[in-house]
């Protein structure tokens, strides 16, 4: 009901804007509202009269709710900070897709109708694959803040993301681990009935070949498996320098626990599924020595990150995670893009987002590459004393 009322309110607002928009405004975007979305000045001095409407589609309930909640906090913190700077104001509307791609499609439709300047989200890659084409067709820019699957930005030239893909993180992880531990032969284990872990496996296999590390055995399992003892015994037989595992956190915890219990003490290198505080909470001591690549280094001492950590702690009384950091960075990047041309119509934002280069952010020096994917240093972490620390 809330959604419906919201639509009605937004639709009537659009009518008012439409009526008040005289033909002489001549904005570059050509849409009804965009005339008022062009301002004067550049960068910090940019001033735009109208509020810039931004829609965000997050999974606030359902299976991915824990991620969506972090993202909401990150976005709201960024919005609060942006509201304090002069010149450009944002009207951020966050809606819940209930972890359902169909609901994401509906919300994308709604935001396109409302003619928002940009859509942030959706939380999950599989929702992005289905909902992003709607924005692409309408020429509304989208900024993904957590989509890591391959192919999302191939949907079209209005689709961007600030979240590093597995394909970007895994080679850096493997390279760092190879150097650190002098890997020569490893055993690779992955669940072969899940698209995400399978594509993680492919990235691992390619990266290991690149580094000249031999894979002595490849062992598959199912994402619902919880007893890995037989598989681990098999892995142990080839005496590997490390276990390389592409699995979701549900399988990662028992796998890591059982490996240590069986006396396998070699490093365990995991994909993004391992990048979860639940690993240390649930596997406890067994998680020590697990190596995971990540897009965000919580302990990074760059000034943006330090300010973010302090502000987040103050507002929510909790530590942010990678999802909050990427969401926070996302809205800041949008602000940067809007101010670059001092315009918030679709074409200006699309063009400016594509030209972001070496922006200092919470995630490090950030650029958008030619495929509209994120480019910034990944951090390779290792679990030490119960928390992720940077693998030096």
């Amino acid at each position: 009901m809330r959604t419906k009322l919201h639509t009605v309110a937004a639709a009537s607002a659009a009518v008012v804007v439409l009526a008040s928009c005289s033909s002489g405004d001549g904005g570059s975007g050509g849409t009804a509202a965009s005339g008022e979305l062009t301002g004067e000045g550049t960068g910090e001095s940019c001033t735009i009269e109208a509020e810039v409407p931004i829609g965000a589609v997050l999974s606030l309930t359902g299976a991915a709710a824990s991620y969506g909640e972090s993202q909401q906090r990150g976005l709201e913190l960024a919005a609060e900070e942006l509201a304090e700077t002069d010149g450009v104001t944002y009207d951020l509307t966050i809606e819940d897709d209930q972890t359902d791609p169909r609901q994401a499609i509906t919300l994308f439709d709604q935001f396109v109708q409302e003619d928002v300047s940009l859509i942030i989200g959706p939380t999950l890659s599989n929702a992005a694959v289905q909902a992003d084409p709607i924005a692409q067709d309408a020429g509304v820019p989208v900024l993904g803040i957590s989509n890591t699957a391959a192919g999302v930005t191939d949907i079209g030239d209005y689709i961007f993301r600030n979240s590093l893909t597995e394909q970007a993180v895994i080679p850096q992880t493997v390279a760092a681990a190879t150097e650190e531990f002098g890997l020569e032969n490893v055993v690779v284990m992955y669940s072969n009935d899940d698209a995400f872990t399978e594509s993680g496996y492919e990235a691992f296999a390619a990266a290991l070949e690149e580094e000249g590390v031999e894979i002595s055995e490849t062992i598959t399992f199912s994402k619902t498996d919880t007893d890995f003892r037989a598989l681990l015994t098999q892995a142990q037989a080839s005496d590997p320098d490390a276990l390389v595992v592409s699995a979701l956190i549900e399988a990662a915890v028992p796998l890591v626990t059982q490996a240590r219990e069986m006396g396998i003490e070699v490093p365990i290198i995991g994909g993004n599924g391992f990048n979860n505080p639940q690993l240390m909470a649930d596997a406890g001591e067994a998680a020590e020595g697990v190596v995971v690549g990540a897009a965000w280094n919580s302990s990074s001492d760059n000034p943006e990150n330090q300010a973010f950590l302090a502000a987040y702690e103050e507002k929510y009384g909790a530590q942010p995670d990678q999802f909050a950091a990427q969401a926070y960075t996302g809205l800041k990047l949008v602000d940067r893009a809007v101010r670059a041309n001092c315009a918030a119509d679709h074409e200006s934002i699309q063009q400016a987002l594509g030209e972001l280069e070496d922006v200092p952010t919470v995630l490090g020096e950030f650029s958008i590459d030619e495929n509209r994917d994120a480019e910034h240093p990944a951090v390779v972490q290792v679990v030490e004393d119960g928390s992720f620390t940077v693998l030096q």
Partner: protein, 291 residues
């Protein structure tokens, strides 16, 4: 050696799950597909008792046992009893128990969310033994011991006690049993209660053994449990234990000698072969159905 032990311990988990399953099936001729949901629910209840209430695992287990028994009574009352007079009671009960399982899982998800949980570290002694160069944990030994004890205890109960005689009478012919003064409804309810209580204990031990509990943990081994009761001989308690071990060993040796992707192909292929050679299962008696 390690793989042999792995096989035995995986097998004893299957057996533990299947013993309760097969009890209802053997005596009442009903397939209770809410059993996997009880398995998951009990693990979550057990974790709640240890984590929130602060009970020790040993204090929590009897409570979980009772909760499991109560769930069994509910399952019998809601999913099976209303349908017992119908001509298609087997099939209708099967479906309604699936429906009840779905509701139970939905309630669990509402209460606990989708995340996996586990028993707090140290709730079970982390003792390990080395047997001929292979690692064995105390949990695994306890699971094996409990499976064996349950098999022996239940077999004794079914063959020697008054309750067991009633169960067998009901298994043979419910109508005749009723005529002879056996309280069929009571026997049925008690059978469900015992079955679910065993499933509940199995769920807790399973969650400790693999250090994780999730909503789908029951359905992940449901099919294996069904295979075990069929391989073992439907309704045969020693058969459930032997069937579990056969399946566990088959899986482990498939991993060892053929490849991990072929695990289920080999395990279930074995099921087909056993059924071809012994349609009644390893320890099952040939059933003669009157038409």
């Amino acid at each position: 050696m390690q793989q042999l032990l792995n096989g035995i311990f995986i097998g004893s988990i299957y057996a533990l799950f299947a013993i309760g399953f097969t009890l209802v099936f053997g005596i009442l001729d009903r397939l209770n597909l809410a059993h996997p949901a009880v398995f998951a629910a009990s693990a979550f209840v057990g974790i709640e008792l240890v984590e929130r209430v602060g009970l020790s695992l040993w204090a929590a287990l009897p409570i979980v046992f009772v909760v499991g028994a109560l769930l069994g009574l509910v399952i019998e009352r809601v999913a099976f009893r209303p349908l017992k007079g119908r001509a298609d009671a087997h099939f209708a009960g099967l479906i309604s128990s699936i429906a009840l399982a779905g509701m139970l899982i939905a309630v669990l998800q509402w209460r606990y969310g989708p995340d996996t949980r586990r028993f707090p570290p140290g709730s079970f002694p982390d003792t390990r033994y080395e047997v001929a160069g292979a690692q064995v944990t105390l949990v695994q030994l306890v699971i094996l011991a409990i499976s064996l004890a349950l098999m022996v205890g239940l077999t004794y109960m079914v063959t020697r006690t008054r309750l067991g005689r009633g169960m067998r009478a009901v298994a043979e012919n419910p109508t005749a049993a009723r005529v002879l003064g056996v309280n069929v409804d009571r026997i049925t309810a008690v059978t469900f209660a015992i079955s679910s209580a065993l499933g509940a204990v199995a769920g807790v031990l399973f969650a400790i053994n693999v250090n994780t509990a999730q909503l789908g943990m029951g359905s992940a081994i449901e099919l294996k449990g069904l295979a075990v009761i069929i391989v073992g001989g439907m309704g045969s308690l020693p058969g459930a234990l032997i069937g579990g071990l056969v399946l566990g060993l088959a899986e482990v040796f498939a991993v060892q000698y053929i490849g991990s992707s072929w695990r289920d192909v080999i395990a279930f292929g074995l099921l087909f072969i056993i059924l071809l050679l012994r349609p009644q299962g390893l320890l099952g008696a040939r059933k003669v159905r009157e038409v």
